[in-house]
Symmetry: C2
Subunit: 260 residues, 2 copies
Amino acid sequence: MSPPAAPVHPVTPLNELARAEAAPSFSPLYRQIKGLILKGLQAGEWKAGETIPSEMDLAARFGVSQGTVRKAVDELAADNLLVRKQGKGTFVATHAEQQQQYRFLRLTPDGDAAASLGRQLLDCKRQRAPAFIAKLMQLRAGDPVIEIRRLLHSGGQPVVLDDIWLPGALFKGLTAERLLEHRGPFYGLLETEFGVPMIRAQEKIRAVAAEEDAAALLQVAPGSPLLSVERLAFTYGDKPVELRRGLYNTTHHFYRNDLN
Amino acid sequence: MSPPAAPVHPVTPLNELARAEAAPSFSPLYRQIKGLILKGLQAGEWKAGETIPSEMDLAARFGVSQGTVRKAVDELAADNLLVRKQGKGTFVATHAEQQQQYRFLRLTPDGDAAASLGRQLLDCKRQRAPAFIAKLMQLRAGDPVIEIRRLLHSGGQPVVLDDIWLPGALFKGLTAERLLEHRGPFYGLLETEFGVPMIRAQEKIRAVAAEEDAAALLQVAPGSPLLSVERLAFTYGDKPVELRRGLYNTTHHFYRNDLN
DNA sequence: GAGTGGTCTAGACCACCAC
DNA sequence: TGGTGGTCTAGACCACTCA
């Protein structure tokens, strides 16, 4: 066992950089690498569903060891931005796969027979953002937005009434026709056709009484209790790009959540 | 400080074991270590809030490298069973800390001023488990259970009506008096006084109309929409030990959920 | 300063997949 | 058979806490 000569590993340079720019206290190398990969994702260097370079390639590119890249990718996979597949590679997460119809939908039928949902487009129009919507989406009041209304059916019965707002600037070619001809998840369309992948979302859930129009569409009595699910969805850079208000009829379905 | 001499990396024996008993396909060493630590937790070798041995100690004890223990602990920390604190040690997760009042409660006030909740015990009685409750909690119908009813108040207003069922066999000394004199989270009591830590939970959420009694207690009109949160909570070994049905008044609060 | 968790590396080998 | 992710190790050093 020959005693290790000198500090063999050039840890210092990047770490100095980190100390200089990181306000909080200290940013380990793998977190900086994570940031670089994230930048590549945001820049569209690798698109949803594609593979990113192998860990070895990334290690060479960034001048670090494979283990460090690995830890960075681990975190991105834990964030559901990447998906690792042993023997095949690491893939950019996507909403466009048939695996599980709607990645963000937590509604479950009572009998847990995973019945697929049918879609019915009610409306799709462009308009000016009302103040309260503009504020939540970090737009200016009056900015162009797209409003979409739709129903989701389970076993022939309407179960969800969605009201969706999107910033008009990002989704120029989005029309009712485009929506109607599209197969697969809505977020898949936004991701593949408009290059805006949904990364995460926050939901605020309340119980509300059905108003006249919603009651009619969901085929329940006015005043019936409905689950109101207000969702704000984000792309890269924590940029909000969708505001959605879903009204769920929870007579034969529930919203499931796991705590730990 | 004589390390266990002989086979320096006894990877094989444990792995053989894994291959033999693991039906799926292959269980890496760190996952077996995870299982061993889990067994220690379940056996009460280290109690909630205490520290577990250092990574080095565990590595020596299990005859593996520190890195392997580290990966095991990483997963347990990701599962919120352990909490790492740099420079201090690794601690068994607990509900009994004042840090964040209720670890599993997702109710948030509208103005996001984190108002603390006041408790009001309504009832605490022992009885025989109705069939539907027994089934969910893996008991026999007629087994003794404890039923607790309580209100949570925010700013003087009642917001949550909880109906809680616990298996009587596990919580012998649990009485109304005991509940009244206890400070801190309910799960903290179960954990420190009865040695039953709550590890994870599943919630099913619906919108319902307030019935007479619930409406009166929550001071809303009968028929008002309320959020119904049905929670099944588990200890170690995926054993269900609490069934709870909360009715939330979501007029000035909401149930928050983050998706990714 | 001693002890704990946290980072980083280098290298060997294993499991899985596709060609 | 070669490439990819996955595991395991050993050893050095860093960051944080506390006596």
